[in-house]
């Protein structure tokens, strides 16, 4: 592919600007993705943290879910953080809310508790040599994975990072730290 990688950040609600800033620093063309047209024109997509029910509502109302599924089916890499992880999951514990259902995993929302239980911790990630600092905010975790999905990191026995081929999801927020390692990891998949 010629020129810069064109990475979209789903800009419906949440911390999309923070992802765009990291991507720009890494030399990508970081684009807000808000319409079908936007999704058509990107090489990879990040679904940011925010509220998964809000993002789901807008994915339905503005008919973006199908085009994302289609492009991901054709091999477009997608990276979901926190709410993005929830939106990517096939199963959500105790909820029938809208999801893209692209990844073979079951997630539990707000699984570590309410906001006062939100925390920071260093994590060990499979295939990455040094620890990565994780910021967990009303975070989900993955209760099980199957098929091609593979757990890459755990915290206290809970799965907090999963990869399935060209799809990646974290419970925590790499976009809130200065460390660009996980974004670089995702870009290597694009």
């Amino acid at each position: 592919m010629a020129g810069k990688k064109r990475i979209g950040v789903l800009a419906l609600q949440g911390a999309f600007l923070e992802h765009q800033q990291v991507l720009s620093r890494l030399g990508c063309e970081a684009l807000k993705a808000r319409t079908r047209q936007d999704i058509m024109n990107i090489d990879g997509l990040i679904i940011p943290g925010g509220e998964s029910t809000t993002i789901g509502r807008l994915l339905v109302d503005y008919d973006l879910g199908n085009i994302i599924r289609e492009k991901a089916g054709e091999g477009m890499p997608v990276f979901g953080t926190c709410a993005g992880m929830v939106v990517l999951a096939r199963e959500i514990v105790g909820s029938d809310q809208y999801r893209l259902g692209l990844m073979d995993m079951e997630v539990c929302r707000n699984a570590f508790g309410r906001q006062v239980e939100s925390f920071e911790e260093d994590l060990t990630i499979k295939g990455i040599e040094r620890p990565v600092h994780g910021i967990f905010i009303r975070a989900p975790y993955v209760t099980r994975v199957w098929g091609e999905a593979q757990a890459l990191a755990e915290f206290e026995g809970k799965i907090v990072m999963v990869r399935q081929g060209h799809l990646l999801a974290t419970s925590f927020h790499p976009e809130l730290t200065e460390d660009t390692l996980l974004h670089e990891y995702f870009l290597s998949m694009v």
Binding site: G50, R57, F119, E120
Partner: protein, 294 residues
């Protein structure tokens, strides 16, 4: 050992709320409507600001029963208000497990000189501000999120516009000042010097800044976003209107597609009657909630 209640997780939740709408609700049913409509959080209250204004008297923290029922009804974050300076109401709200506390001028102040020391809490706080000095004093006290005060319960956006423009203009001015003028700037705006230096360098507040106080239509919500708000609080505007679900969904969409006039035109159709509004000039000075806070 995992660290809880750090400023990164407190201000981080506000970052996750960006581009969203936080709606005032008084019952679990309203909370469910708000969640279904796409609210990114709800504010649990006994009465919306328009009713507080109408009722008069002393407005206090809501009954914990009301707050807990709303917390049980939805999966999105739940906020609640404490009175300015009433740190015990804040302690109670933290003990209930609330996700965010609004130290709010909508309630009757409990202290006419001091605000709550918000650094002392694990739960994050949002506070209202009419200008940059006020915003930075609240951040200095530990607020992890700022919002305009506007004039709550009026359905009139003019004061929120005034406050957002004021904060943005003061930030722009700071970025043009040489470093040796920043101490005097801090003195004039009665703001902590370190935060003034930080804003001058970054060209923005160190925390998320929402609009609040008088937003009643999708156009109001988009206006505040175009003026630089990170998201919107809508108080009386939704559940005092004729068709709350439809209006709530439209305001959520307007906050996302704030710069797309075609979408805004579409979602503004057939919303039914908005809440009745109040002209600000008809309010006596003692009825202006925005004057509360120091």
């Amino acid at each position: 050992m995992a660290e809880k209640g750090t400023f990164a997780v407190k201000s981080g939740l506000a970052q996750m709320l960006k581009g969203g709408v936080i709606m005032d609700v008084t019952t679990p049913e309203q909370a469910k409507i708000a969640e279904e409509a796409g609210a990114c959080a709800v504010m649990a209250l006994e009465r919306v600001p328009a009713d507080i204004r109408a009722a008069g008297g002393v407005a206090r923290m809501a009954d914990p029963t009301v707050i807990l029922r709303i917390m049980e009804a939805v999966t999105i974050p739940v906020m609640a208000k404490c009175r300015i300076g009433h740190f015990v109401e804040a302690q109670i709200l933290e003990a209930l497990g609330i996700d965010y506390i609004d130290e709010s001028e909508v309630l009757t102040p409990a202290d006419e000189k001091f605000h709550v020391d918000k650094h002392a809490f694990k739960v994050p706080f949002v506070c209202g501000a009419r200008n940059l000095g006020e915003a930075l004093r609240r951040i200095g006290e530990g607020a992890a999120m700022i919002r305009t005060k506007g004039e709550p319960g009026t359905g009139n956006v003019v004061e929120a516009v005034r406050h957002m423009r004021q904060v943005m203009a003061e930030i722009r001015r700071l970025t043009t000042l040489p470093k040796d003028e920043l101490m005097t700037a801090a003195k004039e705006m009665q703001a902590p010097y370190e935060l003034v230096v930080e804003v001058a360098k970054a060209g923005k507040l160190p925390v998320v800044n929402f609009a609040a106080g008088g937003i009643a239509t999708p156009a109001d919500a988009a206006l505040m976003m175009q003026l630089g708000a990170d998201g919107n609080f809508v108080g009386s505007g939704i559940f005092k209107s004729k068709d709350p679900m439809k209006r709530a969904r439209a305001i959520v969409a307007a906050t996302t597609y704030f710069d797309d006039a075609q979408v805004l035109a579409e979602i503004s159709k057939d919303l039914g009657e908005a809440m009745p509004g109040i002209e600000i000039r008809t309010l006596a000075p003692e009825e202006r909630m925005q004057e509360r806070g120091w």
